[in-house]
Structures are given as structure tokens and as C-alpha cells.
């Protein structure tokens, strides 16, 4: 990606511009709230209250954020390689199969931490396998990854409905879900962690998969900025031609990147299945795969940006549920709008305010050298 505009100081590039984009997304969302006939300010205060006002709220916020860290990392890893993985939703859904099979097989035999290990491997494997096919097709057969991953989301949905209705449903049960796991398939909550801060998470399903998510953040950072493969990925992302001239194996990089991306998306399934419901249900992903796109764009594909972005969406999910009690007009669907607006302003329109900001900074520092200002202003 060539930057068509002048160079900006780091804090503007990575702090101010994303912030301005975000503020615009929320301003437009506020207009929608106004259009519906409610007060945006009251909605915002309810949102914060619901998400941070009490221990259980915080627990839920972090529970949702865990999902979004996984899917955000999945999208970000692919972004670094210049690939747009829209298939996080499907990969997470199929990843659930790995979790469910591990739990169904071992929940009676193993303690939770052993089942957890098998489930991590299972979810990562299934998610990776579901991402491997589009990756392979892109690398070897030249089919566009965006289209293939969209198609794979729909195929995943059909596969999972089939699995839950015709295969995994216990005999005699009507609901399309697996049986409830016993203790060995249940992740312990992190209530002890929160009680250090004097908070009681109550019934919130905030569990150890949050810690796994943080570990994944560190691993992704190491992978992308501290390994040879990460360097190759970023080179591919910046310039596939340069990567080819440097003798990097294009197909191999694409396929491995997609496998890592799919594994991260697949691990998201651990949180709702083992951490909350102790069974696999239809549509347990509930759009988290798509939220990952917004999270990755907002967090500039860096783990340090993805964590706050994921928490922000956790706030929206949890606080949004609270708002809908007080303001029946504003349901969960409001989050979908905000998600879309964030993707629009932080993604597609990310350069919209750049010329103005560049011109502003050029005039600020360029009093002595007016040439820079005219050049930057074009």
C-alpha cells in the first residue's frame, strides 16, 4: 500500500487518525439513535453503565471481548499478508466442532485442563482446516480468497446445521444441540482474577479462555514482528512482487498464513462452548467472526490495538443488551450498525480525513518551510 500523502508523526498516524475515524462512526450512530427518537447521550451513559458499572457487567464485557480478540487476531494475521479473510465466522463455527468432539469424548475422563488442551488443539485444527481450503485455492488455483471465504461461511453454516440436527443431537432430544458436558468439559471462571480488583462477576461467564486469548496476542506479535516467517508475511502484504524477487515462496506463505488465521478463528469457539454453555448450540458464533473485521481494522492489525478494540466491542455487546432494557427501540441490531460504521470509517474511508490533518500538521511545523505545506496540500 503506497501512502499517497505526506508522512505524519507516529502518534497521529496510529493514535489520532484512528480516533477521529472512530469518533465519526459513533457520531453517525448517534444520529441513528436520534432518528429512532431516543437521546444519544442517555444511550451512551447507559452503555457505559451497563458495561462497566458493576462487576457482572465487566465480566460479560470481557467475556464478549475474548471472542473478538480471537477473531480480530485471525483477520489481522491475514491482513498482514495482504489477504482478506472474511471467513472468520465459518472458521469459528467449524472450530466449534473440534471443541464439541473433544468435550464429548473426554469430559467424563479428563479434568478440565486436559480436556481444554485437547479442545484447543481440536478447535485450532478444525478452524485451520476450514481456512486451509480457501488458502490453498488462492495460492494454487488463483481463486479469490474473499469470494471463497464468503462461500465457505455459508457452507459451514449448512454443515453445522446438518451436524447438529442429524449427527450430534442426543437421541430423543428436540433441540439442535449437543448434550451438556460434565465437569471435565467446563472451563473455570476467572472470578478470582476479578476479586483481586474487588469485583464480583456474579453469573458472568468470564473464563480462562480470556487468558488464552492474551497468550495468542503475544504469540501473534512474536510471529509477525519477531520471526522470519512474519517478515515474509509482511513483505507479501506490502508487495507480492518484491517477495517473489526475494525468493520467498508465495504459495507456502499464503497457505500457512490462512492456516494460522483459521486456527485463531477456530479457537474462538472455546469461549462460548466450554466457557459458557457447556454444550454446542446452533449459531453460537453470533457474528463474532464478522466483528473481528471491525476489530482488526480499528486495532490497525496490531495486538496492542486489537485488545482495546475488542473490549470496545465487548462494551457494545454487553452495554447494548442493557440499553435494550431501558430503550426498547434500541436492540442488539444497533451494534450491527455501529460495526458497519466502524468498518466504513476505519476501513474504507480511512484516508478521508488524512489530507486535512496532513495539511494541518504541515502548516503547524512548516512555518519555516512553506514548500512542504503546499506539497502536502496538493
Amino acid at each position: 500500500m503506497s501512502a499517497p500523502f505526506g508522512k505524519l508523526p507516529g502518534w497521529v498516524e496510529y493514535g489520532l487518525i484512528p480516533l477521529i475515524n472512530l469518533v465519526f462512526a459513533f457520531l453517525v450512530a448517534g444520529l441513528v439513535v436520534l432518528l429512532v427518537g431516543e437521546s444519544p447521550l442517555r444511550a451512551a451513559s447507559l452503555l457505559i453503565q451497563g458495561a462497566f458499572g458493576y462487576g457482572e457487567g465487566i465480566g460479560f464485557t470481557l467475556y464478549y471481548a475474548t471472542n473478538f480478540i480471537f477473531t480480530g487476531l485471525a483477520v489481522a494475521v491475514a491482513f498482514h499478508c495482504g489477504l482478506f479473510n472474511i471467513g472468520g465466522e465459518g472458521q469459528a463455527y467449524i472450530g466449534g466442532l473440534g471443541v464439541a468432539l473433544a468435550c464429548l469424548a473426554f469430559d467424563g475422563i479428563f479434568p478440565w485442563y486436559l480436556t481444554f488442551l485437547v479442545a484447543i488443539a481440536g478447535s485450532a485444527f478444525f478452524g485451520a482446516a476450514w481456512a486451509f481450503i480457501p488458502g490453498y485455492l488462492q495460492a494454487k488455483r488463483g481463486s479469490h480468497i474473499v469470494i471463497t471465504t464468503i462461500m465457505f461461511n455459508f457452507i459451514a453454516s449448512s454443515v453445522m446445521v446438518f451436524m447438529l440436527v442429524d449427527v450430534l443431537k442426543p437421541v430423543g432430544s428436540m433441540a439442535p444441540q449437543t448434550r451438556t458436558f460434565t465437569e471435565g468439559g467446563e472451563l473455570p471462571k476467572l472470578d478470582w482474577l476479578m476479586s483481586i480488583f474487588g469485583l464480583d462477576i456474579g453469573g458472568a461467564p468470564f473464563n480462562v479462555s480470556f487468558l488464552l486469548a492474551l497468550v495468542c496476542c503475544v504469540l501473534v506479535w512474536l510471529l509477525i514482528w519477531r520471526t522470519k516467517f512474519g517478515y515474509e508475511m509482511r513483505t507479501m502484504g506490502h508487495s507480492p512482487t518484491a517477495a517473489r524477487y526475494a525468493g520467498m515462496k508465495e504459495a507456502r506463505i499464503i497457505i500457512i498464513t490462512m492456516i494460522i488465521s483459521g486456527a485463531l478463528a477456530g479457537m474462538m469457539a472455546l469461549n462460548p462452548i466450554m466457557g459458557d454453555q457447556q454444550r454446542m448450540q446452533l449459531d453460537f458464533v453470533t457474528g463474532a467472526g464478522f466483528v473481528g473485521i471491525a476489530v482488526a481494522l480499528m486495532g490497525r492489525s496490531h495486538p496492542a490495538g486489537i485488545i482495546p478494540a475488542a473490549i470496545l466491542f465487548g462494551v457494545l455487546y454487553q452495554g447494548g443488551a442493557e440499553i435494550s432494557f431501558e430503550m426498547p427501540q434500541i436492540s442488539r441490531d444497533m451494534i450491527t450498525i455501529i460495526q458497519g460504521l466502524v468498518i466504513l470509517f476505519a476501513g474504507a474511508l480511512e484516508h478521508m480525513f488524512r489530507p486535512a490533518i496532513t495539511a494541518f500538521f504541515a502548516t503547524m511545523q512548516g512555518v519555516g518551510k512553506p514548500a512542504a505545506a503546499t506539497e502536502a496540500g496538493e
Binding site: 441513528v32 481463486s143 455459508f154 436492540s331 441490531d333 460495526q339 474504507a348
Partner: protein, 324 residues
């Protein structure tokens, strides 16, 4: 024999009914993508148009006013996509994803706020909904064996928008392949630099293409909420925009192929409904999910190059930067 003929007629009639929104949306995508602007926001535009159309038709009690509003809503979203991907040179895929989410959320929030029916718009009756058109002599010819039922059930008795959709297929072919506008539009998608050298504005051509896309998506949305169904239902496009996208790729970005691809996907859909819970000789019961996934699987196989090769417009997805 008579029964088999009857089942065939019903299935084919269902095929036509189900493929109309696909044809309109896929042709919409055709205009946009042929000009070099990828559009995965077909789904969102269609959904927003279905809502706008359903809402306006219910309020003003007029199907044609509803259609107008549907087109305007879809056009507005198309222009957002155009602004992001042409003027701002943003990522076209990201912009399309954003539009899908905004439409998905906004239709429910606004629908609930305005009509308080759980995201539905009020049921359309009489003039506020498109009515089936009986072609001349449909009744008189019904008794002729074989051809009569085909004429009465299959050719006659559809909505105006259905006939419009099928008429749009040759029309789109003619516009794209036999007019100066079409030549320029296709050229902008293949080699914008050359078009610019010839003194034609790339920006203008791409905006025009995106506008065509918006109009057709609007009509597709109106068909869903005001012709097939009597009102808007939450999330009623249910992935049709993506199936249309799949059909467009399947058809290798050619208008007449688009129609056949859409008819094929519509037929699979109709067949899925017919086969639901039925047991077939030799194969046994086909799971519904298999039929639902088939269009997507076919598209993946095609994209992988196992059935011919789908080559997208060369400059597709690349914002045009005028050289200095």
C-alpha cells in the same frame, strides 16, 4: 404422468420466482464489477431497498411509490460505496462489508422504531403490493394439452418485475456490448489508463456504473418485499445477494450467462423445497442443508478452475490513480 407434469410445472414456476431477485442483483453487480468496482454489498443494498420499499408502500399505499423509494435507498448506499471506493480510493471489499452490516442493522432498528412489529413492515394489500399479471388469453388457452398449462402457469401470471428482470438480460447485453457507453464501461474495468488517455473520465464512468448497480439492486429489493412477500421481514434477503455474486462469477461476468446461472441456482433452491423430507430412489433422503449449500459449493469448484476458468475484469478492485 399428469402428476409428474404438474410437479415439473410447479418446480419450474418456483425456479422463475426464486431466480428473479438473483438475476436483478447479479446484473447490478455486473455493471459495477465490469467497470472495475467490486461489490460485495449487493446483499445489503437489496435488504435496505426491500425495507425502504416495503415501508414506503405501506405508508403511501402505492406499490410504485414503494418501488421508487426502494431504488432511492439502494442508490444512496451505492453512492456511499462509490464515494469510498472511487473518490476516496478505499478498499472496495471493506466498503461492501460495511454496507452489508449497516443495512442489516438499520433495517431492523428503523423498522422497529417506525412500525413496532418486531422489525416487520405492515402487511401490504391491494394497490400497495405488486399483483400478478395475467397475459392475454391465459384462461382461454389453459385447456390446450401440454402447451396450455405451460403458457398459463409458467409464462403468464408473474409480476411486472419478473418480466422486467428477464427483459433486462438482453438489454444489459445490448448496453454493454453494443453501445459506446458499454464499451467505455468495460474498458474502464480492463484498462482505465487507456480510457483516461482517450479523454474520458474514469471517475465519471465508474460512478455511472455504480448508479446502474444501485438502481437494479433497488428493484431486486422491491421484488422481495413488495411482490413475492407482502411486506418486509427482518433479514429477508437471507444471503441472496451473495448467491447473486456467486452467479455473477459463475457466469464469468457475461449477461446471458448470468441469467442461466441464476436460473440454475433458483432451480436448485426450488428443487430443495420440493425434495424436503422426500426419499429418492438409490440416494435416499437428501439433507436440505446439502441443497442449500450446493450453489456455494459449485461456485467454489468453478473458482478453483475445475469447470472452465472465471477471469474477473482486469482492473477490478483497483482504485484508479491519475498519473501526473
Amino acid at each position: 404422468m399428469d402428476q409428474a407434469f404438474g410437479i415439473m410445472l410447479v418446480t419450474l414456476e418456483g425456479t422463475i420466482r426464486l431466480s428473479v431477485p438473483l438475476i436483478l442483483a447479479a446484473l447490478a453487480g455486473l455493471f459495477s464489477e465490469r467497470s472495475g468496482v467490486f461489490d460485495i454489498g449487493l446483499e445489503g443494498k437489496m435488504l435496505a431497498a426491500a425495507f425502504g420499499g416495503g415501508a414506503a408502500a405501506a405508508v403511501f399505499q402505492s406499490a410504485y411509490l414503494g418501488l421508487g423509494v426502494a431504488i432511492l435507498v439502494s442508490l444512496a448506499l451505492a453512492l456511499v460505496h462509490g464515494f469510498a471506493s472511487i473518490t476516496q480510493r478505499g478498499n472496495q471489499i471493506v466498503s461492501g462489508v460495511a454496507i452489508n452490516f449497516i443495512a442489516l442493522g438499520a433495517t431492523v432498528i428503523l423498522g422497529q422504531a417506525w412500525f413496532r412489529q418486531g422489525g416487520r413492515t405492515p402487511a401490504l394489500t391491494g394497490d400497495s403490493r405488486f399483483q400478478a399479471v395475467e397475459l392475454p388469453f391465459a384462461d382461454a388457452l389453459a385447456d390446450i394439452p401440454f402447451l396450455g398449462p405451460i403458457y398459463t402457469n409458467l409464462i403468464s401470471g408473474h409480476f411486472v418485475l419478473t418480466y422486467f428482470a428477464f427483459a433486462m438480460v438482453p438489454f444489459t447485453w445490448w448496453v454493454l456490448h453494443r453501445t459506446r457507453f458499454g464499451l467505455r464501461l468495460r474498458a474502464v474495468g480492463e484498462n482505465p489508463g487507456a480510457v483516461d488517455t482517450a479523454g474520458i473520465s474514469v471517475t465519471r464512468m465508474r460512478y455511472l456504473a455504480v448508479i446502474c448497480c444501485g438502481i437494479l439492486c433497488g428493484i431486486a429489493g422491491a421484488y422481495l418485499s413488495m411482490a413475492v412477500a407482502a411486506g418486509f421481514v427482518k433479514g429477508m434477503t437471507a444471503g441472496k445477494g451473495f448467491i447473486a455474486l456467486a452467479a455473477l462469477i459463475f457466469a464469468k461476468w457475461r449477461p446471458v450467462n448470468v441469467m442461466f446461472a441464476c436460473l440454475l441456482f433458483g432451480f436448485l433452491d426450488a428443487l430443495g423445497i420440493l425434495l424436503q423430507g422426500q426419499s429418492l430412489p438409490l440416494i435416499g433422503t437428501v439433507p436440505v442443508q446439502f441443497m442449500q449449500a450446493l450453489p456455494y459449493v459449485l461456485t467454489v469448484i468453478l473458482l478453483a478452475g475445475f469447470i472452465g476458468k472465471a477471469i474477473p475484469p482486469k482492473a477490478g478492485g483497483v482504485p484508479y490513480v491519475k498519473e501526473r
